[in-house]
C-alpha cells in the first residue's frame, strides 16, 4: 500500500480505480477517462494533486538560493504571487525535476515539485540551502485541488465567501495569493483556465463534494495525462530526467542565460551544449495512420537517424494519436514510428496540440 492523500477514502467512495503513482495510491479514473477529459475541455473538472510536494523556503537570502538552484531566473518575479516555471538541474545540465515557484515575499518563496522526486528534491534543496540561513519546510499539512476547465474558476469561486471570491477571480494568469485561509493560484496542467488551490487537509473532502454538487466532474490522473500532453506540457520522468538536458526536452525557453553573472547549477554544461547546438530536440508528433503512439516506440527519420517517443497517447479532443518524441536536431517534418513492427507515418507539429478547448493542428 502506498501513501494516501486526505481525499483517498472519498476517491474510493466515488468508485475510482486506484493505481500506484510515484509511491502514492491515486485515482486514475472514476468512470470514463475520455469523459473526464472532455469535462475539463468543455466545462470543469477537479483533480486531487495533493501528492505533489509543496515546499516553503523562508529566509533573507531565499532569492539568491533559488537563482543558484533554478535554470530559470526568479529575478523575473517582481510582483508578489507571481509564479515561474523552471527546471532544477544537476552540474551536467540534467534535469533533477521541474517546478513551479511562487514569489510570496522577499523572504518567502513556495515551490511545488513532483511527488515521485520528493525525497531527491528535498535532499538537493536542503544541501544547497546549508549555510544560507534559508529554512526549507515541506508542507505536508496541505491538500491541493486543481479545478480546471472553462467553467473551473467560476465554480471554484463558489467555495469561497463573496469577498474572497472576488479576490480569487481577479487573479491574473500564473499568479497566486492567500484567499480566505487558502492559497489560490491561477495555474494548471491541462491547457485550460483554472485554479490550483492549496488548503488545509481538513478542508479538502468538503471542498471536493461541494464542487461535485456544482457539476464539477471528478477527474483522475488518466485524464490529467491526456490533457497535459494535448496542452504540450512535459511530464517529468517521461519527457525529461537526469539523463537529458532542457534543450533536448523542449524546455530551452525556461533556461535564463541572460544574466551573465548568475551562476546557476548546470549553467556551464548548458553553455557548452548551446555553443555546439543541442544534438537532439523534442518535437510533437501527430500520427497520420491509424494506431496509438506510446512511450519508447522507435521513431525512424527518413534519410537516416532514429529517435524515441517519450510520451504518447490517443488525443480525445483530436480523435487521433499524438506524442512527444526526442529526435536528431536536423530531422524534418515527416517521420515514421515503429508500432509492433510496422512503420506508420507521423507528422512533426509544434506543441501545444490543443489550447482552451480548440485544436491547434490541422
Amino acid at each position: 500500500m502506498g501513501r494516501q492523500t486526505p481525499l483517498f477514502k472519498l476517491h474510493q467512495e466515488l468508485g475510482a480505480r486506484i493505481v500506484d503513482f510515484g509511491g502514492w495510491d491515486m485515482p486514475v479514473q472514476y468512470s470514463s477517462q475520455i469523459g473526464e477529459h472532455h469535462a475539463v475541455r468543455r466545462a470543469a473538472g477537479v483533480f486531487d494533486v495533493s501528492h505533489m510536494c509543496v515546499v516553503d523556503l523562508h529566509g533573507a537570502r531565499v532569492r539568491a538560493l533559488l537563482q543558484q538552484l533554478l535554470a530559470n531566473d526568479v529575478a523575473k518575479l517582481r510582483t508578489p504571487g507571481k509564479a515561474l516555471y523552471s527546471c532544477m538541474l544537476n552540474e551536467r545540465g540534467g534535469v533533477i525535476d521541474d517546478t513551479i515557484v511562487y514569489y510570496l515575499s522577499d523572504s518567502w518563496f513556495r515551490a511545488v515539485v513532483n511527488a515521485g522526486t520528493r525525497d531527491k528534491d528535498l535532499g538537493w534543496i536542503r544541501r544547497h540551502a546549508q549555510g544560507s540561513g534559508v529554512e526549507v519546510t515541506e508542507r505536508t499539512d496541505l491538500a491541493m485541488l486543481a479545478i480546471q476547465g472553462p467553467e473551473g474558476r467560476a465554480k471554484a469561486a463558489q467555495l469561497l465567501r463573496a469577498a474572497d471570491a472576488g479576490a480569487a477571480l481577479a487573479l491574473h494568469t500564473f499568479v497566486g495569493r492567500e484567499v480566505g485561509g487558502w492559497f489560490v493560484a491561477r495555474t494548471g496542467y491541462t491547457g485550460e483556465d483554472g485554479f490550483e488551490i492549496m488548503m488545509p487537509a481538513a478542508d479538502a473532502v468538503s471542498a471536493w463534494r461541494k464542487l461535485n454538487s456544482l457539476g464539477v466532474a471528478s477527474c483522475g490522473l488518466g485524464a490529467r495525462d491526456t490533457l497535459r500532453l494535448e496542452a504540450g506540457m512535459n511530464l517529468y520522468g517521461n519527457d525529461m530526467d537526469e539523463s537529458t538536458q532542457p534543450f533536448e526536452s523542449g524546455l530551452g525557453w525556461t533556461v535564463a542565460m541572460e544574466s551573465r553573472e548568475r551562476a546557476f547549477i548546470g549553467r556551464e554544461a548548458l553553455a557548452a551544449i548551446a555553443r555546439g547546438g543541442s544534438p537532439r530536440k523534442l518535437v510533437g508528433l501527430l500520427l497520420e495512420d491509424r494506431g496509438v503512439l506510446r512511450g519508447h516506440q522507435r521513431v525512424v527519420i527518413p534519410g537516416g537517424g532514429e529517435g524515441e517517443i517519450t510520451s504518447g497517447t490517443f488525443s480525445p479532443t483530436l480523435e487521433r494519436s499524438i506524442a512527444f518524441a526526442r529526435v536528431p536536431a536536423g530531422s524534418g517534418d515527416a517521420v515514421q514510428v515503429d508500432i509492433r513492427g510496422k512503420l506508420l507515418n507521423a507528422r512533426v507539429v509544434k506543441p501545444p496540440f490543443v489550447r482552451f478547448g480548440k485544436s491547434l493542428v490541422s
Binding site: 477517462q33 475520455i34 488518466g222 491509424r290 494506431g291 496509438v292 506510446r294 480525445p316 509492433r340
Partner: protein, 132 residues
C-alpha cells in the same frame, strides 16, 4: 460487477468464445476485460485467411491507457475480423458480447476440444479469485 453470459465459453486470459450455426467460432473479450482496459480507442483485428496457433497473439486492443494483445483461444483459420471496430472501437466497451466481437475462426480439426475452455461458472471463479 462484470456480466458473464451463461451460454458462452471463456479463457483465463479473458476472451469469450461462441460457436455459430455455420461451424465458425466467434471470439471477443469479456465485459471484465473491456472494463479493466477502459475506453477503447484502437482495435487491430486479423485478416481473413490468416492461420493462427492456440495462444498466438492475433488482435490488439488499445485503450487510452495501454495496448493489450488478444490471443487465439484455439488453432484455426480466421474467416473474418470485425470491420466495424476500426471506425468504432468503443463498440467493444458498449457491447463486448455482441457487436463488439473481434474475429471469427474456423477451428482446426480437434482444436476446439483441445482448447480446455472454461464454462461461465468456472470463468466467474477466475474473476472472483482475481478480486473482480
Amino acid at each position: 460487477m462484470s456480466t458473464v453470459p451463461a451460454d458462452l465459453k471463456y479463457t483465463k486470459s479473458h476472451e469469450w468464445v461462441r460457436t455459430r450455426a455455420d461451424g465458425t467460432v466467434e471470439v471477443g473479450i469479456t465485459d471484465h476485460a473491456q472494463n479493466a482496459l477502459g475506453d477503447l480507442v484502437f482495435v487491430e483485428v486479423p485478416q481473413a485467411g490468416r492461420v493462427v496457433k492456440a495462444g498466438e497473439p492475433c488482435a490488439v486492443v488499445e485503450s487510452v491507457k495501454a495496448a493489450s494483445d488478444v490471443y487465439a483461444p484455439f488453432a484455426g483459420e480466421v474467416t473474418a475480423g470485425n470491420p466495424r471496430l476500426s471506425d468504432e472501437p468503443e463498440t467493444l466497451n458498449t457491447d463486448p458480447y455482441g457487436e463488439g466481437w473481434l474475429m471469427r475462426l474456423r477451428p482446426a480439426p480437434g482444436a476446439l476440444a483441445a482448447a480446455a475452455l472454461l464454462s461461465a461458472a468456472d470463468y466467474q471463479k477466475v474473476l472472483e479469485a482475481q478480486g473482480g
